[in-house]
Symmetry: C2
Amino acid sequence: MKIIVTGGAGFLGSRVVELLLQRLDAGDPPVPFEEIVSLDLAECPVADRRVRSVVGDVASPELLEEEVTDDVVGIYHLAAVLSGGSEENFDLAMRVNVDGTRALLEAARRTGARPRVVFTSSLAVFGGDPPEVVPEEWAEQPDSTYGALKAVGELLVNEYSRRGYVDGRICRLPTISVRPGRPNSAASSFASGIVREPLNGEAAPCPVPHETRMWLSSPRAAVANLVRALEVEGELIGAWRGMNVPGISVTVGEMLEALERIGGAEARALVHDAPDQAVMDIVCSWPGEFEVQRMLELGFVRDRNVDRLIRQYVEDFAPGAGRPAEEHDDAAPAAREA
Amino acid sequence: MKIIVTGGAGFLGSRVVELLLQRLDAGDPPVPFEEIVSLDLAECPVADRRVRSVVGDVASPELLEEEVTDDVVGIYHLAAVLSGGSEENFDLAMRVNVDGTRALLEAARRTGARPRVVFTSSLAVFGGDPPEVVPEEWAEQPDSTYGALKAVGELLVNEYSRRGYVDGRICRLPTISVRPGRPNSAASSFASGIVREPLNGEAAPCPVPHETRMWLSSPRAAVANLVRALEVEGELIGAWRGMNVPGISVTVGEMLEALERIGGAEARALVHDAPDQAVMDIVCSWPGEFEVQRMLELGFVRDRNVDRLIRQYVEDFAPGAGRPAEEHDDAAPAAREA
Ligand SMILES: NC(=O)c1ccc[n+]([C@@H]2O[C@H](COP(=O)([O-])OP(=O)(O)OC[C@H]3O[C@@H](n4cnc5c(N)ncnc54)[C@H](O)[C@@H]3O)[C@@H](O)[C@H]2O)c1
Ligand SMILES: NC(=O)c1ccc[n+]([C@@H]2O[C@H](COP(=O)([O-])OP(=O)(O)OC[C@H]3O[C@@H](n4cnc5c(N)ncnc54)[C@H](O)[C@@H]3O)[C@@H](O)[C@H]2O)c1
């Protein structure tokens, strides 16, 4: 029995592969499995005999036919063209994000095994003028190509689930922060850059106003939630398979204050305002907070606060950067903390 | 300059063709045009030298390439597999309602002329447990194949508009009642049948509880609104191109009372309850009323009341059936009445 991870070479995908293996080693896999197949344009970086890397295009029906067999118990569909790339190359985004998703669902359907399918969506499916705290039944009126095509993906995953072809779990992830590495094509890339670069002693532009409210999740919390999404019983999710994955709601200004607390005034001073209309047009239409009580009850987790989000980056990716945590920071671990 | 009407042989399509020609004859076309091309599996029944009927499949890219040329000023996209048919044949619905819509949008994009595109969606895009009066920003969580694929169509039309490839106008039509003719595969077919059959002296089953609230439009009001949708300036619609086309909100019980007022107790007695779970599952998840003030301000119309809706059927399709209208029925014509 195997789990397929499209985008298994990517940032979240490779971490999901790692956590799945850890859970298997601990004798507590979210679903029983023996093998993980990464399906990505690149090789999965996780070196483990239980991981097989298939390098290829997720929109290729032949490849899917070969790999998506009736011993597949779970599928993570993470391969996608991200927000900046989708805005730049509409046709590529249609091919990968729409045709790829559909081809994968068709392949899953043909197995007859009704595998669990975890699909990563994004808060970019929302647009227009969302309320301060977005309820579960707020309209998706995306104003970006990325958001529009993720919304199409949600509808397909949900409909294939409703018809009993797959058992879908749609995870609308918050913006992931703090991501390690270099800036990428995502419009929200700055949400990591304004913390990561200064902690590494580099300057970072801030393209949006400081009062911009962001909905954030650390990589650890996001990966834990993706594994939880595979594990949870489908009936508990309800008829509509869309889920607003928990995050924390902070303004860019609050992020910069936390950066100063952790990295000092020198770090804070490395961030300069450089308004970028293209980024604002996309990011400022995203909601800054969601109703997530039901999700927390389903066993999904969230970060405790923005300081912890930044300290997690320091611990995992930049040991030595930043000041030591103060006492109160680690007091009384929250029950649902990642 | 031409207008393309996919589904031009259908119920709404052929009536849109007729009204477009009437408006042209009156020197007041919604957009300037000389020719109408009907694109349908069947021949358009409107006999007029300005109408050209192309018989073919809307999901055929070759056909679209041939017909969707840069002199196209407007496109009505009405060809679709309806609700009952979509639930029965998922693959056909995907091919026609998704692939067909996408192929048409691609063809329109390739002209470079940014034509106006009127897309007919449906209240079947909603599902779950909608509030009594649905606001403009209520989530689409369809629980039927028809609704899911119409929702996908909406997202595509909107995104092609946002990118400037077409100038889209998405009309979420109410359930059309009273339709002439025979019952069809639509789950809402009874909303016409329980009035039409009794007025024609035939028995009719009522598959849903009498308290079921329906959102209805006469054919005349719906066709007037589709022509208005082509006419209205795109900027007035707003960034999100979805529109809840006005209707009237009545319960099935109120429809039956109106039937009795107009057709007499004999007509009313011809309707018998015959609960049908499949129909209830689909129809009872549809909202019964929408916020439409903004749409009325944009020049869209609605029927005055359920008696008028039924009388319109009698006048247009069954002269002689029913009792003469009472005085109060026609008093003070409403400004925005169809
Ligand atoms: N990171 C975030 O902030 C965030 C937020 C919301 C949603 N998501 C979604 O989560 C998923 C994973 O995101 P990530 O941050 O790990 O991105 P990533 O770019 O690190 O990983 C995406 C992977 O998909 C692969 N890929 C792209 N096109 C492919 C194709 N045609 N065939 C096969 N593989 C292909 C890439 O090679 C890459 O390894 C994506 O679907 C993304 O849209 C991410
Ligand atoms: N009538 C309603 O109550 C209602 C309500 C909401 C939305 N709508 C929508 O309005 C549109 C028109 O509805 P209608 O009531 O006139 O339906 P209809 O069935 O009378 O007309 C649909 C037409 O589409 C054509 N068609 C179907 N598949 C085709 C294909 N592959 N290629 C070319 N033509 C094809 C059919 O031949 C038919 O003439 C549809 O999109 C429908 O979903 C109707």
